[in-house]
Symmetry: C2
Subunit: 273 residues, 2 copies
Amino acid sequence: MQTETSSYESLRHLGARELRQSIRNGSYSSQTAGLAAGRLQANLAILPEEHALDFMRFCQRNPKPCPLVGVSETGDPMLRTLGEDIDIRTDVSAYNVYKAGELECSQTDIKDLWRDDLVVFALGCSFTFEHALVAAGIPLWHFQENKTVPMYRSSIQTVPAGVFGGETVVTMRAVAASRVDDAVKLSRRYPLAHGAPLHIGDPADIGIQDLYEPQWGDAPPPVEDNVPVYWACGVTPQNALLRAKLPLALTHKPGHMLVTDIDEQAEVPVYQT
Amino acid sequence: MQTETSSYESLRHLGARELRQSIRNGSYSSQTAGLAAGRLQANLAILPEEHALDFMRFCQRNPKPCPLVGVSETGDPMLRTLGEDIDIRTDVSAYNVYKAGELECSQTDIKDLWRDDLVVFALGCSFTFEHALVAAGIPLWHFQENKTVPMYRSSIQTVPAGVFGGETVVTMRAVAASRVDDAVKLSRRYPLAHGAPLHIGDPADIGIQDLYEPQWGDAPPPVEDNVPVYWACGVTPQNALLRAKLPLALTHKPGHMLVTDIDEQAEVPVYQT
């Protein structure tokens, strides 16, 4: 019997729980941007308890790149504070498996890798403030063109904790000069989604050599009269994880986020039944 | 030789670091409300590393009563992310020492109790949003009368983590009906200082029997035409600590807060040199 696979378009109407169900039963394994509208999506980091306290310290000290929205019990694959019946072993559409800091493989579930000493961390992502910017009439090129936002290694150092550290990765969105203040104010309202920008203007100020050669994502079109605005990026904690060369670390595959039941506008990321 | 002690009034002009110096050298051991204006003050919880990961989970799951603003390295008494030269063994004006959930004593330093396995947690406090309310012309009775805000055990349960749990403690401030919306919006801007109210209106809705018999703090004057507004309170994590009956737990003595070098308006509580 062949497994029916679902297209992105056919899933657009689904709520978060139904979407996770489709992912769990193997019928969807693609990107999650724009799905389960209005629900908080999250970056994922899964690591052994031995390093969990330091990783939490790292998140606390670097809340803009690493806004913590949920932490599991040790060894419990259910993310009870982020929604109904979220099994982190199966409910994300694709995972990256890292061993000693190297990408070993990507897979669509991590049932074979689950261990009693693993702790799951969910971290807010940029979708939340991007939706707010678009709703306020600040257009985003990568939304309109269906591209990935450009990401850069900056010279802004994170505050280290234990084995975790390294530079802050930033995203860039070009904003009309007249709307930069609005973009700052709006994004500051979302501390669980990277908050206000880290920098505005000259890329060289934060160690970016060439705006048109991002380290990840797509090269942006010419900035022209717009102002480049830089926000902290969820690749920062992923890089910190790789840099730490843990024997085992699991993350979502970029773009394949955890879709939670939390309202994107919620002040506090705690699911209430 | 007698130790010179400083009065509250003589310290009002001091910056945070000078104030901590006066506390460290034993010349000041009283309350800190209104001192080092503009600097973030924090609640304190110090506990063995064995329970630190669960306590951090507890804070992450209950960010309104427990807004984490700083976490030390294990065994390191210096709070490096919250300011210049903060030694947590000496720089708070009074500490409470709890053993197995009972108050053993209060003391003005904890040098004799420091251990290599202790982790320090600093949690945001209500001063920050109270200053914003007063600045916006929303008067606070307990400021005007030099009293302590009334605090109540509510029926709102915290989300537990490990040995930590229990009910949420709330404070009450009576606000003119016409300013309640402003008070909500303003306080929501301060997620590191308890954020927006947990409840507005009837105390019975959140299990408060008698508004005029608070469990801690001073009884408020008649609410009259004002609306009672309830915010999460930093006594919540203290209660969770007591309830957990750890062999050793240290906190600040109520009102005797840790005075940091962080700007009260800062988006992120990380000290930059």
